[in-house]
Symmetry: C2
Subunit: 111 residues, 2 copies
DNA sequence: ACAATAGTTAACCAGAAGTAGAACTATTGC
DNA sequence: GCAATAGTTCTACTTCTGGTTAACTATTGT
């Protein structure tokens, strides 16, 4: 099921710091230390968040080409696409409802 | 900030049962009892989930017109639209990255 | 008035999740 | 080799969250 990926996505993005990381990585690949500093997290905390983001396939990592100590993270497209599809699906049913619901409300308010 | 709404959205949809409720309500308005039965939750548990969904503005409620005991819930469009916008924004930055990243990878692989 | 139904609220419990601090690994540079 | 840096892992500790049970409110129907 693709639903698993959606489930994992929401589970992972439940944490505000991880959402912030995703937002930051949206602007470009960054090092772990930079992310920790930007979010005001400690190194261990950020390390954990990144491991979780990795396990969910939301980000990918790469060793620094010049300095092998640094780890550079970047976003992974697939999961976001899956969630967008999920939201679109929920909304699709909705739009169908909206017509009848609108009529329902108008009918109610005109009484 | 609109970001607050997005934060709230993820916070609320972190729970699988609440995601299921949203999915169910996507197919049409339903009573609290029906949602409890469909998700295999107890009444108190569902009541809590619905209160949370309400407070986040994700759903709206209505009393049954024939039976005032029942409470009918339906989805609210605005929050989902906000989150879709958020995801679109993240993805937009991305697409810009993809070009340069692709070139970066190709350059690396050709060595 | 009384029993049954729909749902909410409150108190308590158990498990999960995030955090901080200390120790550890690997790499760089002098 | 040694100090410094980048990051990870481990071990508590704390907080948050969701579930259950029991009691309660409101409404319906007889």
């Amino acid at each position: 099921m693709v639903e698993d990926q959606v489930d994992r996505f929401f589970e992972v993005l439940a944490d505000p710091t991880r959402r912030q990381v995703v937002r930051l990585l949206g602007e470009g690949p960054q090092r772990a230390g930079q992310l920790a500093a930007a979010t005001g997290s400690s190194s261990p905390a950020m390390s954990r968040h990144l491991r979780i983001l990795l396990s969910a396939g939301l980000v990918a990592d790469e060793r620094g080409s010049d300095d092998a100590r640094v780890r550079i993270f970047r976003l992974n497209p697939e999961p976001v696409v899956a969630v967008q599809a999920w939201l679109d699906q929920v909304q699709a049913h909705w739009r169908d409802q909206l017509g009848s619901f609108k009529r329902h409300v108008e009918q109610k308010e005109s009484s």
